[in-house]
């Protein structure tokens, strides 16, 4: 993908250049990005979307066939952002307690003591999330939404930042529980990696396991700077014209007769947050329609479904079609 780096476009003499975030996190973010790109070869757009998703305080769903680097991407994200992370391999016999934790009886104090599960971390990698039973899925997804866990009348706050990066394999259907729409809605973005381009694949074949690189790499950020950046993302300006644009996009999905479900208000909020993060990554102080257009396929694709499965058009092309139909506000 040929992005034009922001520096190339910016003209120091241009007084109207939108945006100068001026945050100390910016340089670190650039380092994080390039570190991720050395691990995940040839996927700068997906890397950028992942970062945007996490900076927008959203959870991420990576959907793809096995072996394209889903787990590696999740690892790399955790490592580069300098977050504590846990990994749970979801299986059909996984119980909610296996994720959230369990109360055990402590003989010494003669009391029940809550032993925290793997969810009490900053980045939870939920591998093959569609293999777990709906009950376990919903336990996880509730925690995702509320950012807290209630066990035995006690509410435990989850750490901040808290991200869930889930992966799922769309092609394997035996013994899986597809995530229902209500739960898919809780993931801010769904991205797919896809096979690498030929030249990147060649490099992969030559150099072997990319995950080993992580050990040598320093973390570019840490938890506190991630939180700071998240706050900065929230401050990126959203104009009325842009809100019009987002509203029109959302409205369009609700008016179309061939869609089962339009975008929810939560999806609209997420779209704006993601666009803010995208603008922040592009070092702009205001969100432009282009930012919305860039994140919309990832934000909307998993929430849109055609009514007639016979003419199955995937969410990405629906989203592209949506963008083509709604004119940009001028």
């Amino acid at each position: 993908m040929s992005t034009h780096p922001a520096s190339e476009r910016r003209d120091p003499a241009d007084p109207a250049d939108p945006g100068e975030p001026g945050e100390p996190g910016n340089a670190a973010l650039g380092r994080a990005r390039s570190a991720l790109e050395t691990v995940i070869l040839g996927k700068p757009r997906q890397v950028r979307l992942c970062l945007a998703c996490l900076l927008a305080r959203g959870h991420l769903l990576i959907e793809d066939v096995p072996g394209v680097g889903k787990t590696t991407l999740a690892h790399a994200l955790a490592h580069v952002l300098g977050l504590a992370w846990q990994r749970v391999q979801f299986t059909s016999d996984l119980l909610p307690a296996d994720i959230i934790g369990v109360s055990v009886f402590d003989r010494a104090t003669q009391q029940f003591r809550f032993r925290k599960g793997p969810i009490f971390t900053q980045l939870l990698l939920a591998d093959e999330v569609n293999r777990a039973s709906p009950r376990t899925q919903s336990a996880l997804l509730e925690a995702m939404e509320e950012r807290q866990v209630s066990v035995d009348l006690t509410t435990y706050r989850l750490p901040d930042p808290f991200f869930v990066v889930a992966t799922e394999n769309p092609h394997e259907e035996l013994g899986t529980f597809a995530l229902p729409e209500s739960q898919l809605d809780r993931f801010l973005m769904r991205i797919t990696l896809g096979y690498p381009e030929a030249r990147f694949e060649r490099e992969l074949l030559r150099k072997g396991e990319r995950r080993d690189l992580l050990a040598e790499m320093p973390s570019a950020l840490d938890a506190s700077s991630v939180v700071r950046i998240q706050q900065a993302v929230r401050a990126v300006h959203v104009s009325d014209a842009l809100l019009d644009y987002v509203q029109r996009l959302v409205q369009q999905t609700r008016e179309r007769a061939d869609l089962k479900l339009g975008l929810s208000p939560r999806a609209g909020q997420g779209l704006i947050r993601a666009a803010q993060a995208w603008a922040y990554l592009a070092e702009r102080s205001a969100v432009l329609p282009e930012d919305v257009q860039a994140v919309l396929p990832s934000v909307a694709a998993h929430r849109l479904e055609q009514r007639e499965p016979a003419s199955a058009v995937d969410g990405e092309s629906l989203a592209a079609d949506l963008l083509k139909r709604v004119p940009v506000p001028i």
Binding site: M1, D14, A257, L259, A286, D291, Q293, L323, V326
Partner: protein, 713 residues
């Protein structure tokens, strides 16, 4: 390798659905004409529809241009061979249907579908020209709706507008347009005379003919089509007086009665022919002679037929105005055949017994000659009847007594009234009087007049209608073709022409109960019972009343009716100018109401200064070959300009970044106004150099996919 006119392959559904709609609308238009165009044209339309749908659905190749051309030529040749012209309603409709079928074979673009739909609408128009009866109206409305729905679908070929939504949208649009149509119908200046009455090709409308042969009336009896309707000012006449006078027949060749001898036809009619007009003085003198005149003033709405007779209650004392005249035998003859519904007002006196003062005073030579005509009998025909007539006359003391004795002969001679009489030979009266003794009004009238003439009394056969069905909903009398009747008139000295109905002697119930009792078809008891059920009868009455309303008020809404309406609205003598003003005022009212209605829909806000300046910038750039796509934001637009006109990119980037900051950036009230002014000025001042040769600006330039993927960074 594909011929140049092979259509591009597109997603199937996006093509098939609009095509199906178009085909349905077109076929609907053709089916409206199915009995007016030759069968092969309908077949062609069906085959071409199936073909084009099959091509689209199975992704077959469309026929080549040469084949389509040959088909079009062959069909045109077929139309010319059949009609010898391409003009006229039928030939034109056939040609339209055939060419529409061929067009359907290449309807793979939106423009082609519009053309097919235009043809469908034209077919609808042709159908409206050829038939305007009430049952057709819903069909036409349905076809109009279908065409509009197809238009909606064709206009959004790739959109997600569902069929249901399209139908609803079309229906709503038609409803919105309906008041406008009504206004135009009421107030659009009308041309007097019928512009629309295209010549009918051999229409076989039923009606009274000007001849009467055994069996003739019986053909009419089987048709329950309405002949005419009559509205009375006041109560209608009693059933026994509902004689509606049609052509009077004078000449008898032994089998057939006709108005004039056949040898007169084609030659110039003598001045004393039956169609000679009565002088105005004579009509004036024909004012009621008896003090017991029973006058009826009524309006008749005549259904179209192939004849020129204007029916009126026997006997007319004040003929209607218009292109009609009254002959000496008191028949109303129109100037032209009644090819379309007409309405007229007349006054009749049912008690008028034809004491024609000119005739009573005798012997006026013209009257004598006229009377002589009504003594004619074919020589050597019906000898036994002539003999009987002479004998009865010699036995009777007076002409009136003679007539009574002949009626007595009918009453006692074992005659029976039936609508299914046996066939009669050359000497029909002899065979009827002395053989079959069964027949209906025509037989009795024919025999009676023959007997009278044998006795030396001037007599003639009058055909027309007897009776009528009172419609309580529309408060009018409906006379059907099956009410056709024939009776006799004899000239009695001192009394003039006197109506005598020999059928009434044999079958008095025919006068009071109508012909339905005698119809062979309706004779089966259950059917008659069904027809006489009160609610079925009331449905029939309601149906006929609405038909009458349709014919009178909608189809018959002519210049006069329009003037009447305008007068009621206070415009006494409307000029075309005033009509135009009224129409324009109504149009404005309609627009205001509709506009208010539509105005409630959310509308995009008025563009502000910034948007106007930005539009100007986009327009300038579009003129030099770098238009903005509707879904391009400022940065993406800058990238697209850089691809197309790299020379403009630096300036464009500065301007577009400035716009982006103004539109989407944080608002800082202090500097915004000056920056906006700067932007406007920069846009206005930028003289964009045209590249040579200038590429044609295209508003919707498809961009390559890769460009879309890289956007937005």
């Amino acid at each position: 390798m594909s011929p140049p006119d092979t259509p591009p392959i597109r997603p199937r559904d996006a093509q098939l659905r609009p095509l199906m709609w178009c085909a349905a609308a077109f076929l609907g238009g053709v089916l409206l004409q199915v009995d007016r165009i030759p069968l092969w044209a309908t077949m062609t339309a069906c085959v071409c529809t199936g073909w084009s749908i099959a091509v689209c659905a199975r992704r077959m190749r469309l026929p080549r241009r040469s084949l389509k051309g040959a088909l079009a030529l062959a069909l045109t040749a077929a139309v010319v061979a059949m009609f010898h012209t391409l003009n006229g309603l039928e030939a034109g409709t056939t040609l339209l249907a055939a060419m529409g079928s061929v067009k359907l074979l290449e309807a793979y673009r939106r423009r082609d579908r519009y053309i097919v739909l235009g043809v469908a609408l034209f077919l609808l128009l042709a159908a409206c020209l050829s038939r305007q009866s009430l049952p057709c109206a819903p069909l036409y409305a349905a076809e109009a709706w279908l065409c509009c729905s197809a238009l909606v679908v064709a206009a959004h070929p790739e959109s997600s507008l569902g069929s249901r939504a399209a139908v609803l949208l079309a229906g709503r649009s038609l409803l919105i347009a309906l008041p406008l149509a009504v206004l135009a119908f009421l107030f659009f200046p009308r041309l007097s005379g019928s512009l629309w009455a295209l010549p009918e090709a051999g229409a076989a409308a039923t009606g009274l003919s000007d001849t009467l042969a055994p069996g003739g009336i019986s053909d009419l009896s089987e048709s329950s089509d309405p002949a005419f309707r009559a509205w009375f000012d006041g109560p209608p006449p009693p059933p026994a007086e509902r004689y509606w006078r049609g052509p009077v027949l004078h000449y008898f060749d032994g089998y057939t009665w006709s108005r004039v001898p056949p040898q007169w036809l084609g030659a110039a009619a003598p001045a004393t022919s039956a169609t000679a007009a009565v002088p105005a003085t004579s009509v004036a003198l024909a004012a009621p002679a008896t003090s017991a005149a029973r006058l009826y003033r009524y309006r008749v709405a005549l259904e179209p037929s192939s004849n020129r007779w204007w029916l009126a209650l026997d006997t007319v004392v004040s003929p209607p105005s218009g292109a009609v005249r009254m002959t000496s035998d008191r028949v109303l003859v129109g100037a032209r055949p009644v090819t379309e519904p007409i309405a007229y007002t007349a006054v009749s006196d049912t008690a008028w017994r034809g004491l024609d003062p000119t005739a009573a005073r005798l012997p006026d030579p013209t009257t004598a000659r006229l009377l002589g005509r009504d003594l004619q009998l074919p020589p050597h025909r019906n000898p036994r009847s002539v003999e009987l007539g002479r004998r009865l006359r010699s036995e009777a003391p007076s002409d009136a007594a003679f007539a009574r004795s002949v009626l007595e002969f009918f009453r006692t001679g074992g005659f029976r009234y039936t609508l299914t009489p046996p066939r009669l030979g050359e000497d029909s009266v002899d065979e009827f009087l002395f053989g079959a003794r069964r027949g209906f009004c025509g037989h009795f009238a024919s025999a009676f007049v023959t007997l009278m003439r044998s006795g030396g009394i001037p007599a003639r056969v009058v055909t027309g209608y007897l009776g009528g069905e009172w419609n309580p909903i529309g408060r009018y009398l409906l006379i059907r073709q099956s009410d056709a009747h024939a009776w006799a008139e004899v000239w009695l000295p001192g009394r003039g022409w006197t109506r005598i109905d020999p059928t009434a002697v044999v079958a008095p119930e025919r006068l009071t109960r109508g012909i339905g009792e005698f119809l062979p078809g309706a004779a089966s008891a259950p059917e008659r019972l069904l027809l006489n059920l009160p609610w079925i009868a009331s449905i029939r009455e309601a149906w006929d009343a609405s038909n009458a309303w349709w014919t009178n008020e909608v189809i018959g809404f002519d210049t006069k009716a329009q003037l009447g309406l305008l007068r009621r609205l206070g415009i006494a003598t409307p000029s075309p100018d005033q009509l135009g003003w009224a129409l324009a005022l109504c149009l404005i009212g309609w627009l205001a109401v509709t506009g208010l209605q539509l105005g409630r829909l959310p509308r995009p806000p008025r563009p502000d200064r910034l948007a106007r300046a930005y539009r100007r910038l986009c327009l300038k750039l579009a003129r030099v070959g770098a238009p903005r796509a509707l879904d391009e934001g400022p940065i993406a637009y800058a990238d697209s300009i850089a691809r197309r006109r790299p020379d403009l990119a630096p300036t464009a980037r500065v301007l577009l970044a400035s716009y982006a900051q103004l539109r989407f950036g944080p608002e800082s009230a202090g500097t915004r106004a000056s920056r906006l002014a700067d932007f406007e000025r920069a846009v206005a001042r930028w003289r964009i150099p045209r590249r040579r040769p200038a590429p044609r600006p295209r508003l919707k330039t498809p961009r390559p996919r890769s460009a879309r993927a890289s956007r937005g960074t």
